[in-house]
Amino acid sequence: MGKTLYQKVWDAHRVGTLSDGRTQLFIGTHLIHEVTSPQAFGMLRDLGVGVKYPARTFATIDHIVPTENQDQPADPLAAEMIDAIRKNCDDFGVTYFDLKSGKQGIVHIVGPEQGITQPGSTIACGDSHTATHGAFGAIAFGIGTTQVRDVLATQTMAMESLKVRKIEVNGKLRPGVYAKDVTLHIIRLLGAKGGIGYAYEYAGSTFDHFTMEERMTVCNMAIEGGARCGYVNPDQTTFDFLKGRPYAPTGEAWEAAVAEWKSFASDPDAVFDDVVTINAEDIQPSVTWGISPDHGITIGEDIPNPATTKDTEEKAVIEEALAYMKLPAGTPIKGIPIDVAFIGSCTNGRLSDFRETAKFLKGKKVASHVKAIAVPGSQITAIQCEKEGIDKIFEEAGFEWRAAGCSMCLAMNPDKLVGDQICASSSNRNFKGRQGSPIGRTVLMSPVMVAAAAVEGKIADARETFSETFQSVVA
């Protein structure tokens, strides 16, 4: 009987069974950032131990870094946290991609960019979007701070094994439909809780043809579907992406690594606990209307109406969401005015996101009432965008072009919604208060759809807003 990638990686990293029945799992790569690590280092000092394999731990700062003036946080607490991670990395001998390194950025963008994220590895990070790294055929978990301590101290953690659900998407996406729409579609289909207890294996011809960046966008939001991790089997696309990156193997070691990486892919006769099949053509540009990532609809649909559902629980959920979102039930989502447009985050803050969006944004203007910000996910992304003149296209359209960080994805730096502002956002969470104002509202969508909303000043169908460009691209 064949094995899945998940099982193979798990078996290769199993240290033993703990007395409570859980597996002691070796974590080959540990990524840390400023928010969830200082307490863990504190615990390490209390235990009087060091970092077990400092060479396997990599740090950067992202959550609290200001995007206007990166190295001058006005907030003393933010400055304290930056000082803490510098000192901790120094004291414990951990590699740290600081602001001045030119390599700083959102931890889930930095890992792949540096070639640290590799197939067949286990990766942990004190951040729930660690699943992103699964795009490379790694098993990557978001963990809590106490587990960060465990991994620092022992390079292992206690884990329960997961079931594996294969999500197969086949066919070609329609023009204007992006990886973000694929992930929103899956979450809508299976629910925000549908993945609890599972690892998601994303497969099928759509994924085979996806770039690494597209795969990362989908894996990134596995957690929004409740799955602890998501992955794509490694293939030539994966190897081509990694080749030549700073931490990728070189020379003979490269060939050996590729051979080994291939062996981790799920066997053709692997058995899955569940299989879901999706037709790529059924996926439309999607947006969220509520306060959970599974509150998604396609751009042509109406906002749900609690009056038309008989299920009392569903009715209550819709009512609560609409009361918070202040959206009119049963009317088209298209045309709802927005206040803020945000392109960035570990979901959609990569080079390809800015390149693709720039194609459509060129020569257009952001509506006068909209505050629009574009935030590259890493310093390397920023530099490349600037080389290609992408920053200028965004700025000429009326976007603010910022420095690398998590920015408005969450509320730990100066980029925040104010009052009940409504934001078209390329990030991953639309929870109440997520973007910094306790009554702020988030509408998730792909970066191109955010650009369309910014230009029109309201939620729009990018295929209409940018119809000329779409026609020339498709032709």
């Binding site: 307490q39 590895s121 729930s128 963990i143 701070t145 101290a153 206690a158 609560e320």
Partner: protein, 200 residues
């Protein structure tokens, strides 16, 4: 590292309304700017305890004098979803909660809580609703969670609850913080490291 076994938890309970309570709601991100977890307790559920506009206390059960001192939280489905921040269970624990009873829990939250010795048990919607009603009717009602026979009793009410075996054993044996056991296996850890080409 002597940790006491946790076999039962009792106290008064406070019901929290709503499903899918995410960790952003439990502890808003702006309060996570800290290098230790001390002091997080006062920010638990901050944005629902205080009106975001006026800053006034809301009608939230945690502001209700009747539930003052409650140490057990009763919640709905998928409690603790969203961000993996351990700040969420830490803030609840520092606030004074010693256990959570809900319809279901998000996985990372669940694991984080167990490691802190904060038991999370689940039961059916019907049982949870009955418990919520009983606590609302009488906030001084003593609720007891017994992890040995996996029951919750509260006055006349009694029902069985669930939790994964591994977590239950860990709590009952006082091994819910696995660090000691993890550290004991140095040889095996090193052998595994040596077998992995990208590590060694």
């Amino acid at each position: 590292m002597a940790i006491e076994p946790i076999t039962q938890v009792s106290g008064t309970a406070v019901p929290i309304p709503g499903a899918d309570i995410d960790t952003d709601r439990i502890i808003p991100a702006r309060f996570m700017k800290c290098v230790t977890f001390d002091g997080l307790g006062e920010y638990a559920f901050y944005d629902v305890r205080f009106d975001p506009v006026s800053g006034e206390k809301t009608q939230h059960p945690l502001n209700d004098e009747n539930f003052k001192g409650a140490s057990i939280l009763v919640a709905g489905i998928n409690f603790g979803c969203g961000s993996s921040r351990e700040h969420a269970p830490q803030s609840l624990s520092k606030y004074g909660f010693t256990a959570i009873i809900a319809e279901s829990f998000a996985e990372i939250f669940y694991g984080n809580s167990t490691t802190l010795g904060l038991p999370c048990v689940s039961s059916s919607q019907q049982n949870i609703d009955a418990l919520k009603a009983a606590c609302s009717a009488d906030p001084s009602l003593q609720v007891k969670i017994n992890l040995e026979d996996m029951t919750v009793t509260a006055g006349a009410l009694s029902f069985s609850v669930e939790m994964p075996d591994s977590a239950r054993h860990a709590l009952l044996s006082g091994k819910y913080d696995p660090i000691k056991e993890l550290m004991d296996n140095q040889d095996k850890i090193e052998a595994t490291a040596a077998s992995l080409s990208y590590v060694s």
